[in-house]
């Protein structure tokens, strides 16, 4: 995508706000123009249910954030919908619909081929290959990758030149062009993140899914990455990302989906979701507004009270389990 | 000294004297009782002129005389010779080529028939024996067996099944001794040790050196073998594996190192001991019969030792602290280290004990199969890997179960398919299992793909 690409209609923040204001702020709400719909995604490990999502729709052309406390199942859910893990409900209800079409094959490579590409939390740059080779691998439908055609140069050299030109453009945009002949393993961590993002764009995806893009990145580079993500959105790309950092989320996301204990507990704009009590409880626990520095709390009476509350909660949970 | 012990001593001394006398006299008696060898003019081959095809009908105790043995020459003509009183016959031939040796069934004792050769390649028409590629100047032995016409060649399938099962258990136990170590090494370090079978051979070779060559008592020698092999494991980790781990060598590189080590060890064995099969104990073992199952004393002892040692290893892994630590490291090295377990110490222990077990397996194997050779490892290695993979890479108990299964498959398969496919059968089972359940019988699914 060149810098002069047409800016999508949703490049204007006001337009986006208008669009999303009409969407219901409850889990699994339907979106005006959803690019991805998933149904009945369940993943169990032994006796434990890690993910149990009934329905989720992702709106086209905006940035959606997937947040939640540790252990909420965000990464597992992410892996499930990108094909890197198989839901336990596969064959009994799990369904994907992307860009209006039902997805039958949901292996990782099929998902990528259909237009959804992802990045990884621990970057998977192909370390022992050069930056340019990394980029060239990103392009899809390469004639030269077929075994039969590879021996006959004329069948793929012109396509190869086109791919190279596109790679150079993208590298330039992400300020990596002068590193094109260096081995990817010799880049810094932040540069590798940019490389992964640039590589993902080589196939002109419709939706890009980022797994904790800011993990392990210094503040300066965070700004740069945020800028890149926003300009992708402005050009019409749909972005879904998993994040921990609430500041990042509040700063750029147009829609937020909150997960806890494997389920989606809330959806909405960033502000709505922040003040949702269910969300706050999920993150901080029920006594979040208690000042633990207050010595008065350490009286016997308070301790007894807390013990009673804990016992009550446990009794409740046992009853729930029995039910 | 009480009266009873004096009497006992007298009884004992006299019994011993009788036994010694008997042992001295018995060989003489045997010598006298054997029939004098008949002075038959056996043919002697002359270089470039004649060759000999000769044999004996029946056995030394029961020779079969007066049977007409028919030789079919390359040009189709036949020559007939009658067996002597001692059952011997011989033909002198002047042309090189392919010959057939058969009998005239009418001249066989009543109720007997000629048994066709067991090997398919040697079977000629009408059950005759093929003697191919006869060259002048050499002698060829023609072994013809005669049996009761009512003889049921398939000794009841059930009896064969029992015998093979016992043999299979025996093989499985010996494999288990070695494969438990292999599995633990894999679990704790990630290395697929292609030199493990050579460690087993080492046990047999050291046993040969100590017991056969140096004449040390078998039990003491066995113990020394275990100690020496355990030391070799300790040494290996100290000078090779630990430094390489510290260097950060990848698993593929380590695997190739074990391949090189395996090659070097095999040829060192051949260099030092020679290419022949060597035995730890030279005397023939005493055989016992339990119903229809025949087993040597040595096999029984070996199985017993194996069971005891395996039980001890199992107990150690389950109940002792170091055993639990080993299982923890084998399960998840990083996590174990983070929990404060000294993984280097555990790994050193694993190498030492694994090699000691492999050495024990080796000397027992040499005793039970009556010999060990420089390339015995070649056959065993694949069985070990099959056992470990079958049971689940990285689990010690899986290795035990897998070994027993592989041992049984190897010994039972000749009941249904030709004997030279028995190792191939075990390996095929492995490949098929990987299709269905790659983590093995006791392994966990996450380790796999």
């Amino acid at each position: 995508m060149s810098e002069t690409a047409a800016r999508g209609a949703l490049a204007d923040p006001a337009e986006r706000k208008k669009l999303m204001s009409g969407v219901g702020a409850e889990p699994g709400s339907s979106k005006p123009d959803s690019i991805l719909q998933v149904n009945t995604i369940v993943r169990q490990f032994g006796g434990m249910t890690a993910v149990d999502v009934h329905h989720l729709e992702v709106q086209r052309g905006i940035i959606t954030a997937l947040i939640g406390p540790n252990g909420a199942g965000k990464t597992t859910f992410f892996n499930l919908i990108t094909g890197f893990d198989r839901p336990t409900s596969a064959g009994s209800g799990a369904a994907w619909s992307f860009d209006g079409r039902k997805l039958d094959k949901t292996s990782a490579s099929s998902v990528a081929k259909s237009g959804m590409v992802r990045t990884f939390q621990l970057t998977k740059a192909l370390n022992r290959m050069t930056v340019m080779e990394n980029m060239m691998l990103g392009a899809q439908n390469q004639a030269g990758e077929s075994l039969a055609k590879s021996i006959f140069r004329p069948t793929w050299t012109s396509q190869e030149k086109q791919i190279e030109a596109k790679a150079e453009e993208l590298l330039d945009r992400f300020k990596l062009l002068e590193k094109r002949s260096d081995y990817a393993g010799s880049l810094s961590g932040g540069q590798r993140k940019l490389l992964e993002m640039a590589r993902a764009l080589m196939s002109d995806p419709k939706m890009i899914m980022l797994d904790e893009p800011m993990a392990g990145v210094n503040p300066a580079l965070t700004q740069s990455l945020l800028g890149h993500i926003q300009s992708l959105r402005d050009e019409g790309m749909t972005v879904l990302f998993v994040e921990h950092d609430m500041h990042v989320v509040r700063h750029i996301s147009d829609w937020v989906v909150v997960m806890a204990e494997g389920r989606i507990v809330a959806e909405g704009s960033a502000d709505t979701v922040m003040s949702n009590p269910a969300v706050i409880d999920a993150y901080l626990g029920a006594h979040h507004d208690t000042d633990l520095g207050d010595d008065a709390l350490l009286s016997d009476a308070t301790l007894e009270q807390l013990e009673k509350e804990v016992a009550e909660e446990e009794a409740e949970r046992e009853e729930e389990d029995k039910a | 000294m009480s009266r009873t012990s004096v009497v006992d001593r007298g009884v004992v001394t006299r019994s011993v004297a009788l036994v010694v006398l008997f042992l001295l006299v018995a060989p003489l008696l045997l010598l006298l009782s054997s029939r004098a060898a008949h002075a038959l003019t056996l043919c002697a081959p002359k270089a470039d002129e004649t060759a000999c095809i000769a044999g004996t009908m029946g056995s030394r105790e029961n020779p079969i005389a007066d049977v007409d043995v028919i030789l079919t020459k390359p040009d189709g003509s036949t020559e007939t010779v009658t067996t002597e009183d001692d059952g011997k016959f011989s033909f002198e031939v002047t042309e090189p080529g392919n010959y057939l040796v058969g009998v005239d069934p009418d001249t066989l004792p009543k109720g007997s028939e000629l048994r066709p050769p067991a090997e398919a390649a040697l079977r000629g028409p009408d059950g005759a024996l093929k003697v191919d590629n006869v060259q002048l100047g050499r002698s060829y032995a023609a072994t013809l067996t005669v049996r009761d016409a009512s003889f049921d060649d398939s000794t009841s399938k059930w009896d064969e099944f029992l015998q093979s099962s016992v043999n299979g258990l025996r093989l499985g136990l010996l494999l288990a001794l070695a494969s438990v170590g292999l599995s633990l090494i894999y679990g704790t370090t990630g290395i697929s040790n292609f030199a493990h079978a050579e460690q087993v051979t080492l046990g047999g070779m050291v046993g040969y050196g100590l017991v056969n060559v140096a004449g040390i008592n078998l039990y003491l020698g066995g113990l020394m073998v275990v100690i020496i092999c355990g030391f070799s494991g300790w040494l290996q980790d100290r000078i090779l594996w630990q430094p390489l781990r510290r260097r950060g060598l990848g698993l593929t590189q380590l695997m190739i190192v074990t391949i090189g080590l395996s090659l070097a060890l095999q040829y060192t064995f051949q260099y030092v001991v020679g290419a022949r099969t060597v035995r730890v104990v030279v005397e023939n073992p005493t055989v016992r019969d339990f119903g229809s199952v025949r087993i040597t004393n040595q096999s029984l002892a070996a199985m017993g030792i194996a069971i005891v040692v395996l039980a001890a290893v199992g107990y150690a892994l389950l109940r002792t602290r170091i055993g639990r630590a080993t299982r923890a490291v084998s399960d998840n090295p990083a996590l174990a280290q983070a929990s404060g377990i000294d993984t280097d110490k555990v790994i050193r222990l694993v190498w030492t004990v694994s090699m000691a077990l492999a050495g024990l397996s080796g000397i027992l194997y040499a005793l039970v199969t009556n010999g060990i050779k420089w390339d015995t490892g070649l056959q065993i290695l694949l069985l070990l890997f099959a056992a470990v993979t079958l049971g689940g890479l990285g689990t010690a108990f899986g290795a035990l179960v897998g070994s027993l299964v592989i041992g049984l498959v190897v010994e039972l398969s000749p009941l249904w398919i030709p004997g030279d496919f028995k190792y191939a059968a075990a390996l095929l089972i492995l490949i098929l299992l990987l299709l269905v359940r790659p983590q093995g019988l006791l392994g966990r699914a996450q380790r796999v793909g």
């Binding site: 094909g83 292996s107 990782a108 490579s109 990528a112 081929k113 590409v117 992802r118 990884f120 998977k124 740059a125 192909l126 022992r128 290959m129 080779e133 691998l137 390469q142 004639a143 030269g144 990758e145 590879s150 021996i151 140069r153 190869e160 393993g185 590589r199 993902a200 | 090997e119 398919a120 390649a121 990630g190 697929s192 060598l249 990848g250 698993l251 593929t252 590189q253 695997m255 190739i256 391949i259 090189g260 080590l261 090659l263 070097a264 051949q270 260099y271 694949l382 890997f385 099959a386 993979t389 030709p418 030279d420 496919f421 390996l427 492995l430 490949i431 990987l434 299709l435 380790r447 793909g449």
Partner: protein, 399 residues
């Protein structure tokens, strides 16, 4: 000096031998498996053996040679599929165990006597004697009978083969080799592109002539130990090199290396990783089968001669020359086989005779050579995994 000349002559005969070339072809196949795709195939000998059986048995059944070759290749193709389908979705160690087991199974089946029909085809442990399938190949020879020495004009023609001639000659050749390696690495002079390729080609030609000048090889023209076999097999090596270069310097070759690096990353880019690995397994196996056919042409199809040792030799040659390079397999094979003969011949001359030390008997020298090979493999992998031509950055293996 004459002892040394004997050793050098023995080395040259081995290096030039068609069996060295045949193994080089198999190593080219192994390079595709292990060097470029990271597949741990420890059963390359099985591909070689199956190709050899297919070819030889077909010819003994009077199938024309061209189709016999196809049959051999077809057997390797099917074998690759049978191996790949269960294991390519699993971790690397599983492929290692399955390939080594499958190689043993092929060997056992070849040796077996249990089924008569099978035994008649394969000849059991004795195998199929070369005379039964060599005919169609030797009859194609345009060289006729007689002997030729390469080079006819050699050191014996200069000053009666005096020692100083040979010494000077070797110094010159070694200097040229060092220069060629340096130019190849780019550390000598500043030639690029066509000029560099030309200089290298010229240097290699002169070096080859020089070596043959100093160590002439007399052989029959046609016949088991003949130039016909040698020329054809080495020409085949050249053809294989061209094919491999085309394959590797293409997007397919790039995909292979990507799979070697990180399969998950490749999946996230939409590549069908299983298909890529399977294709690599098949192509490498086809090269192996071709190598096997050429290996048995001057010899016999014996299952034990194409057993595990050959696989280990292939790995040593590959790592020695440099995995994941085009020329590595050929260079590695030349050095490996030459080196092995050197060890055997040197031990025979110096360690096994009354003239110097009598440390080991004649038989023991070849065992000693094997021990050296095993230790060399270990040292190579520990200290210089990239071999001679490999790129150190590219070859720090990790699973």
């Amino acid at each position: 000096m004459d002892d040394i000349q004997q050793i050098i002559n023995a080395m040259m005969r081995e290096v030039v031998s068609p069996q060295t070339a045949a193994v080089a072809i198999a190593v080219i196949g192994l390079n595709i498996h292990f060097g470029y795709t990271g597949l741990l195939n420890i059963g390359q000998s099985a591909f070689m053996l199956l190709g050899a059986y297919g070819f030889a048995i077909a010819i003994t059944k009077d199938v024309p040679m061209f189709f016999a070759i196809i049959i051999g290749l077809l057997m390797a193709f099917v074998f690759a599929l049978v191996l790949g389908v269960p294991t390519l979705k699993l971790r690397g160690d599983y492929l290692a165990i399955v390939t080594i087991s499958a190689a043993e199974i092929v060997r056992y089946v070849g040796r077996s006597v249990g089924y008569e029909g099978l035994f008649n085809l394969t000849g059991g442990a004795q195998g199929i004697p070369g005379s039964r399938y060599r005919g169609p190949f030797t009859s194609l020879s345009p060289f006729g009978d007689g002997n030729t020495t390469i080079l006819e004009f050699n050191y014996t023609d200069v000053a009666d083969g005096a020692t100083w001639v040979r010494l000077v000659g070797w110094i010159v050749v070694i200097a040229l080799i060092v220069a060629a390696v340096k130019i190849g690495r780019g550390t000598l002079g500043s030639l690029t592109g066509g000029a560099r390729a030309g200089a290298l080609a010229g240097l290699i030609a002169v070096i080859t002539l020089g070596i043959f000048f100093l160590a002439p090889v007399p052989q029959q023209n046609t016949g088991v130990e003949g130039w016909w076999f040698t020329v054809v097999t080495w020409l085949l090596v050249g053809v294989c090199l061209i094919v491999v270069t085309l394959l590797i310097r293409s997007p397919w070759g790039r995909a292979l290396r990507g799979v070697r690096e990180d399969e998950d990353a490749m999946r996230s880019l939409g590549k069908n990783v299983f298909a890529i690995k399977m294709q690599a397994l098949v192509i490498g196996g086809l090269f192996g089968a071709l190598g096997g056919m050429m290996y048995v042409l001057p010899a016999t199809v014996q299952p034990d001669s194409l057993g595990r040792s050959i696989t280990f030799f292939c790995y040593t040659a590959l790592l020695l020359g440099g995995a994941a390079t085009i020329w590595g397999p050929v260079l590695g094979s030349l050095i490996f086989f030459g080196g092995r003969v050197f060890i055997i011949a040197a031990s025979n001359t110096y360690l096994s005779s009354d003239k110097y030390i009598n440390l080991m008997s004649g038989q023991k020298t070849s065992q000693f050579a094997f021990i050296v090979v095993g230790v060399a493999l270990m040292l190579l992998v520990i200290f210089r995994p990239q071999g001679i031509l490999g790129d150190k950055r590219e070859l720090r293996f990790n699973v």
